[in-house]
Chain length 462, copies 2
């Protein structure tokens, strides 16, 4: 290979590693020119990450070395804690310069995190257009299309020709508004069609927008939940989705890059819920230990209380246990396996509900399927458990049978509970993910020991 | 509102519901004109979904009612089982017409699922260009950039002016190649820069591509894992990412819409792994019950075996249990809580590793943090458990203390194991998600009962 090959002689991730390891070193030696040249080939998001990892004193220093245009881009990618720290350290005019140039949706996100007093001061100093745009977004509920949209888009009248449109776009002062769709509206700002930049570029110059626009437009309302917005962009393979108000007037656009982050955040929330954790959307690894403990202790407490019920049941069977002490050895096996079977069922159902894959089947069909799977798994695992118990107890067939039969019953119970409870929770308007593995596990424990003791008493005739 | 308001008089989801409920009815009455007009305002992906829910005999019938252009779009969105069923029912020429017009990446995905014999026949009948494109993609490993890219893109020389480029694009026969970036290559097909359609449209017509292109291009290799491709598109907010071969020559493009599906699939895999399930990427609700049982039984077996260890330990303590039978009542509480604490730790660590949020902290710091959280949680929960045990046993302080102290020790152990094992697994080159809640739960069970009996013997002096 000749050295003319222009790009990717080192990979992106190598570059990121290099920046991470070198940046602090250069700063410590006060080699500011070195920092500047180190950062030249680095993407804004990578610079933001590297700044976030620096000690606070060095963050501002690095940030000041960036060109103004770059500073704005980098700032948008910083974690909100770093954004706030910088705002406090900046001089007044620096803050205004940067915040005024941010895109309105990023700015609204930043303002969400800042103290109300700081937001009021900043809003007052923004240029009128930006102030209006930001106030508009902040007026919508959190997690709705209105809050995450950008109010910057190009809307045109349908009588324009393709070449007129191209000229119009070229003459626009603020090129940041040009994305990949143009919106066609009537005189009352109602959305009547969409033209993609691609359609515009491949169409004959004399055609009008009315000739080439798509009239069957997928759009959402300002109050639409952001997860639904994300699902629609995913479903219809869109790059952006127009947002209309109650009067069907176009007010903004949600773009696909925001959507990826939303879907990622929702997946994290689901995963956390499945692990028995609350998630407030913050990066967990930046929250304090107190917050961590607080987020976890509530669920653990609920589960602890459920477990005391299991304990009370076992305690109430002390007579039985005193007589056949070896029964105790199988409690963890039975409750553990039941919990695992239930966790599997609840996981597929919760994920299916959240990705809408489950819609084709009704709750009845799903639970029935899971029940069948539970019986099959119970039969397989129960047989193995019976053989093992028989061996461990050196030939006590009665207890071994009690273990095996209980395992089948518990598997069935666990798969029905694991698949049914998420549906129940959803129909009550609650998040199905609350019926997570830890909860199912604990709930199955209680019923599992009841079943086990019942079956054991029957078989042992006690 | 006047009835001029052209769109969204009914919402997308209402329309989908309507199609679902009406389609089969119209087909049963053989009202084919009704079907046609029902489907006019419906997006291809929604038609595909509705067809997928029909009885098999009606699927082909509906599909034949679509216009040719629409049929191709709809076909790409169908589930692979439906795609296969249709291929078998089609007449020869119908198949070729549709498969030849699919985009190469979708076609490669379809061919992955079809029997090798059918693929050979279809390949032989494709037009030469499409055959070449498909064979190229199928030559790359599954789940790599090479397999998911489309080889259709526009590459241009940097000496072209903006107006020449616009003319060139307009004259292209196959407009499907025009997406939102144009790629600039040198005479040996090395990628030297990127021009977005947006940059092209807003630039002065006399400028050359060399003047306006971005030279610092983010790109990936054909062998790059698809998850990394997705993460890069997400990280750098791209609409498409160029793919180069070993000689740094441009060979294809991965687009953002594919990436959303990949991230979604990866999230499902993670969630399944956390629930103790294997995932093969198929829609779970379409797989057979046998597959379901097979996917689950392996993990359950592993966990069952671990649980027999717990059982064996308890069995070996029969003497102790016979003497203090009330000890048995607390086993589920201790192992259950330990499992839940461990599940929480492993969930945050596994998710953090997969989203790369954890990178800023090393394993040592993370495990130390989790250990502290484990001790805090253990102290809170242990105090409560001691009081409860004291009350349940009507004043047996020794056993109550044994329960409380064990719970602190088990919480610490669980949080260290839950946070440490995913790191260990990653460093061994295994998927950290294998250290999921069910596994941690079961592993903590074994150590938990050991700790409990040890502490109980010490306190009770037995």
């Amino acid at each position: 290979m000749t050295n003319e090959t222009p790009i990717q002689t080192i990979s992106r991730s190598e570059l990121r590693q290099l920046v991470r390891s070198q940046l602090q070193l250069l700063l410590e030696r006060n080699n500011l020119e070195g920092v500047k040249s180190l950062l030249v080939p680095v993407q804004p998001v990578d610079i933001a990450e590297a700044i976030g990892e620096l000690p606070e004193a060095m963050q501002l220093m690095t940030f000041r070395l960036l060109s103004k245009a770059e500073a704005i881009e980098v700032y948008e990618y910083l974690d909100s804690t770093v954004q706030q720290a910088l705002i406090e350290d900046f001089k007044r005019q620096e803050v205004i310069d940067i915040v005024d140039k941010m895109s309105p949706d990023d700015r609204a996100r930043l303002f969400d995190e800042l103290p109300a007093k700081v937001v009021r001061q900043l809003l007052a100093e923004l240029s009128p257009n930006e102030r209006k745009a930001t106030a508009l977004l902040l007026g919508y509920e959190e997690d709705t299309a209105g809050r995450i949209m950008t109010p910057e888009y190009i809307s045109l009248k349908e009588i324009l020709t393709v070449s007129q449109t191209l000229e119009r776009i070229r003459s626009l002062a603020n090129a940041s508004e040009v994305v990949y769709y143009l919106y066609v509206t009537d005189e009352s700002r109602h959305l009547t069609g969409i033209v993609s930049l691609r359609d515009l570029v491949i169409s004959a110059p004399e055609k009008t927008l009315s000739d080439i626009m798509t009239r069957d437009v997928v759009c959402v309302h300002t109050e639409t939940d952001q997860e639904e917005v994300a699902r629609m962009i995913q479903r219809y393979d869109l790059l952006a989705l127009p947002v209309v108000d109650r009067e069907q007037r176009l007010v903004g656009v949600v773009t696909v890059d925001d959507v990826i982050d939303i879907l990622e955040k929702e997946a994290t929330e689901d995963i956390y819920a499945l692990g028995g954790l609350q998630s407030d959307g913050d990066n967990y690894f930046q929250t304090s230990l107190w917050t961590v403990a607080r987020q976890r202790v509530v669920w653990l407490f609920v589960l602890l209380i459920t477990n005391t019920v299991t304990g009370t049941i076992i305690k109430s069977q002390n007579n039985l246990l005193r007589e056949v002490v070896s029964l105790a050895a199988f409690i963890p096996l039975l409750t553990g396996t039941g919990g695992n079977v239930g966790a599997q069922s609840s996981t597929v159902v919760i994920r299916g509900l959240n990705t809408e894959e489950i819609n084709a089947l009704g709750p009845g069909q799903v639970i029935f399927r899971e029940a069948l799977a539970g019986i099959m798994l119970g039969l397989i695992l129960g047989s193995v458990a019976t053989v093992w118990a028989y061996w461990l107890l050196e030939g006590n067939i009665a207890v071994a049978l009690a273990v095996g039969i209980s395992l089948i019953a518990i598997s069935l119970l666990a798969s029905v509970a694991g698949s049914g409870l998420p549906f129940l929770f959803r129909s009550l308007g609650l998040d199905p993910a609350l019926m997570s593995a830890p909860f199912i596990t604990t709930a199955v424990d209680v019923l599992g020991v009841l079943i086990y003791f019942k079956i054991a008493r029957l078989i042992l005739g006690l």
